[in-house]
């Protein structure tokens, strides 16, 4: 999300508008999406929190769970987003700036409301966490190794982890199965794979080979390259249980 529209980039750059929030939310609901995630990508870089007005409009039309992320820096911010109808809040850059935020959110709302998003870059020094990735000019290494940060946020009370493998994001060459499998091994909470889905086979592999609990994708759905009903039919044929 940026400026009230849904946008999508490639490797976190060159975002283009793909549509209206409510139109897309309704379309994905009707196509059988199991959960929607909304990232207000400009919120943290702009030093503000996510806009509540559209959260409420989305909540009015959605009958599936949805998660909201973007500059949620306090219990009060999260309370407003949840009160507007979101099921979960996801924190990323604010948790890196203030790790105890995860503890406070889990204590107030329970772990099941608290998702930690991790943007992980593949570097010569290994998998590294990056912050403020919504703004290409300000994105930077957050000074943490990805797997260590995953362990820490779980101890602090994260109830779900969305691991976005940045090198794969938006390029549709498949999820980073090696990184996701390593993440699965240190993750006792649900692990959501993000970044790189391009084909139906990529989705199947992230469940069977990396053991992810859920797969998140944006580009292939926004563009219409993969339709959710066809994806679910193919996953079912591959022996993966899906809601139909």
């Amino acid at each position: 999300m940026r400026g009230g529209r849904v946008v999508k980039g490639v490797r976190f750059r060159e975002h283009v508008v793909v549509g209206d929030i409510i139109e897309l939310a309704t379309r994905y609901r009707d196509e059988g999406a199991d959960e929607l995630v909304f990232y207000d990508i400009a919120a943290s870089p702009e030093g503000r929190s996510v806009d509540r007005a559209w959260v409420r409009r989305v909540a009015a039309v959605l009958d599936i769970p949805f998660c909201v992320a973007g500059g949620i820096r306090s219990v009060a911010d999260a309370e407003e987003v949840l009160a507007a109808g979101a099921e979960k809040v996801s924190v990323n850059s604010p948790a890196l700036a203030d790790p105890a935020l995860v503890d406070r959110l889990a204590a107030r709302f329970g772990s099941q409301c608290v998702v930690v998003g991790i943007d992980s870059e593949t570097t010569p020094a290994g998998w590294r966490v990056h912050a403020l990735t919504g703004d290409p000019g300000r994105a930077h290494d957050a000074g943490r190794a990805t797997l260590e940060w995953m362990r820490e946020v779980q101890q602090r009370g994260a109830g779900e982890i969305v691991l976005n493998c940045m090198a794969s994001d938006g390029v549709r060459r498949g999820y980073d199965l090696a990184q996701l499998a390593a993440a699965r091994a240190v993750c006792t909470v649900p692990l959501v794979a993000s970044g790189g889905a391009g084909t139906v086979e990529h989705f199947a592999a992230v469940f069977t080979d990396a053991g992810a609990d859920a797969a998140l994708a944006a580009s292939v759905f926004h563009s219409g390259a993969i339709a959710i009903p066809a994806l679910k039919a193919a996953l079912a044929r591959a022996g993966i249980e899906v809601r139909r």
Binding site: R29, D34, R56, A59, A60, D63, I64, P65, A78, E79, L82, A83, A84, G85, A86, E87, R108, F109, G110, S111, Q112, C113, G159, E160, C187, T188, V189, P190, L191, D213, A214, R243
Partner: protein, 205 residues
């Protein structure tokens, strides 16, 4: 305000996200209100006890409003959702909390295991053990959306189960009290149907 009585009163148990439940009832054309007022709850056609957060927090809030005594005495249809269902039991291991004591038993912590992440968050099949009007028109094995770290064991009051590493209570019934471990308001068309079924239960059963 119209002259007809509110279809369902939602108990304000301090949960942060009551909006999703209100929107779900609104989409069904039902009227609802959120309150912690004992008299309003006593006189309600139907009562929904939602709950997000911890059992201890929710019981403390219900206690402050005097609702720990009001709720067990209700005679109209009552639907507990998620933590709201767990509160119907005698006790919860979560914070060793004494709950409403309507359904016998203790709610237990889900332990993580390989292939079983905790919290349990996701869509799981629900299988009925007996017929109930709440499940009218809903296929056996339909998927509902679950989000929880504690669960009720299978007892005589469990009318539907889900398998998450082990069988858990998905729907409980004790007289006029019903509870779902899953969130019908976030379970797509089948969840909407379950809520519509609840709204059709007679106010005085």
């Amino acid at each position: 305000m119209t002259g007809r009585p509110t279809d369902a009163v939602i108990v304000d148990s301090g949960g942060a996200n009551l909006a999703s439940l209100q929107f779900a009832l609104q989409r069904l054309g039902a009227t609802s209100m959120v309150t912690a007022d004992p008299e309003t709850i006593r006189r309600a056609q139907r009562v929904v006890l939602p709950g997000v957060g911890s059992a201890a927090d929710a019981m403390a809030r219900l206690g402050q409003a005097g609702l720990d005594r009001v709720l067990p005495a209700l005679r109209q249809p009552v639907l507990g959702i998620c933590l709201g269902m767990q509160l119907l039991y005698d006790r919860s291991e979560e914070g060793a909390t004494a709950c409403l004591g309507i359904v016998p038993g203790t709610v237990q912590r889900l332990e993580p295991a390989p292939g079983r992440a905790v919290p349990h968050m996701g869509w799981n099949r629900v299988h009925a053990r007996e017929r109930h009007a709440l499940l009218d028109g809903i296929d056996d094995g339909a998927h509902f959306y679950f989000v929880h770290s504690y669960a009720a064991p299978v007892t005589a009051e469990s009318i539907a189960l889900t398998d998450y590493g082990a069988d858990l209570t998905a729907i409980v019934r004790q007289g006029n009290f019903l509870g779902t471990q899953f969130h019908p308001e976030r379970s797509g068309p089948v969840g909407a149907r379950l809520l519509a079924n609840f709204l059709r239960l007679a106010p005085c059963s």
